[in-house]
């Protein structure tokens, strides 16, 4: 059960990542690409938690915690640049 579940879920995450990456390559403007990057970073947070569950390592969760907290700051910076704020 566990192995099949792992493979199915990881394939779905990979699929989501690929679709977001297509938008990243296509996206005509910088803002579109930032949206794709935002989406990819959320997918990666989920992936990190899931891989930690697969390896059964509790301390690995810290990495995804740091990602969840800091991931949005980079996007906020780019947004502030776009509106001419910084």
């Amino acid at each position: 059960m566990n192995d099949v579940f792992f493979i199915v879920i990881m394939s779905m995450l990979v699929l989501a990542g690929v679709i977001a990456a297509i938008r990243f390559v296509k996206g005509p403007t910088a803002a579109d690409r930032v949206v794709a990057m935002d989406n990819i970073s959320v997918i990666i947070i989920a992936t990190l938690v899931f891989v930690a569950y697969f390896f059964q390592r509790y301390i690995y969760i810290d990495v995804s915690l740091v990602y969840a907290v800091l991931g949005f700051i980079g996007i906020l910076t780019i947004a502030r640049y776009l509106e001419g704020g910084i």
Partner: protein, 243 residues
């Protein structure tokens, strides 16, 4: 023509790299040093995270050197950019740039203390979880960055930054000297505290103290660098004069 030359050069580089790595076996045992550390860190120092033990304890002097390099870089950036800044004190174009939206400001109020707590957690638990002084310091500096980009009137007090940085550096060196005085082998940065038990907060001897010092130092340095970078626009000698 230029592209052809670049392509030819790339092929040469690729050939050299392939030749160099063809015999190389990744993950193969080279010097047996890996086993030594994996065996000895849990028993010598009671540290759960071997990487931390190597960085801070076995190679503690290197870490002091790295922190010094960072300090020199931060000082260099401040020196170069600070001179420019004092040249045009008259104009302040940063005050005219649009403010962040009310929602971002409110969220920053809420999130900033939480980021500080997260950073403190990362560098206090350097010897138990992944992470350590450098990462924790970077997280705290990111928290200050959040304030810098969303509040125009927020200012970092450079004197406070300088004091925190110097005190943390002095603390680091003092721990090293205490190692000479009280350590069993009288070496610099040697462990002189009881090592405690594996997986507890008070374990690993001096590692926790060193990481607290490194955390404060890195946080202060990076905050200073970011503040300098964000405020260069106040000189007005970039966009305003070019366009």
């Amino acid at each position: 023509m230029r592209k052809l030359i670049i392509a030819a050069l790339l092929i040469v580089v690729a050939y050299v790299l392939i030749d160099a790595f063809a015999e190389f076996q990744f993950g193969a045992e080279r010097q047996g040093i890996k086993d030594y550390f994996l065996e000895h860190t849990p028993t010598d120092l009671q540290v759960a995270n071997s990487v931390t033990a190597i960085i801070v304890s076995y190679r503690g002097f290197d870490t002091l050197g790295e922190v010094t390099v960072l300090f020199l870089a931060a000082t260099g950036i401040s020196t170069i950019l600070y001179r420019r800044r004092s040249k045009h004190t008259g104009l302040n174009p940063l005050r005219k740039s649009p403010e962040a939206s009310l929602i971002v400001k409110a969220a920053v109020k809420l999130l900033f203390p939480m980021i500080l707590i997260l950073g403190a957690y990362v560098f206090v638990h350097g010897h138990l979880t992944p992470g350590g002084g450098f990462q924790g310091g970077a997280i705290i500096a990111t928290g200050f960055l959040l304030l810098l980009i969303s509040y125009r009137q927020f200012k970092v007090e450079h004197s406070v930054v300088m004091w925190v940085e110097s005190l943390a550096g002095i603390f680091f060196v003092t721990i090293g000297i205490f190692g000479i005085i009280y350590g069993p082998n009288a070496n610099f940065l040697e462990n002189f505290l009881p090592v405690g038990n594996l997986n507890e907060l008070m374990s690993g001897g001096v590692i926790g103290l060193v990481y607290v010092a490194v955390g404060f130092k890195v946080a202060a340095e990076l905050t200073g660098v970011l503040d300098t970078l964000v405020n260069i626009r106040e000189t007005g000698d970039n966009k305003e004069t070019k366009e």
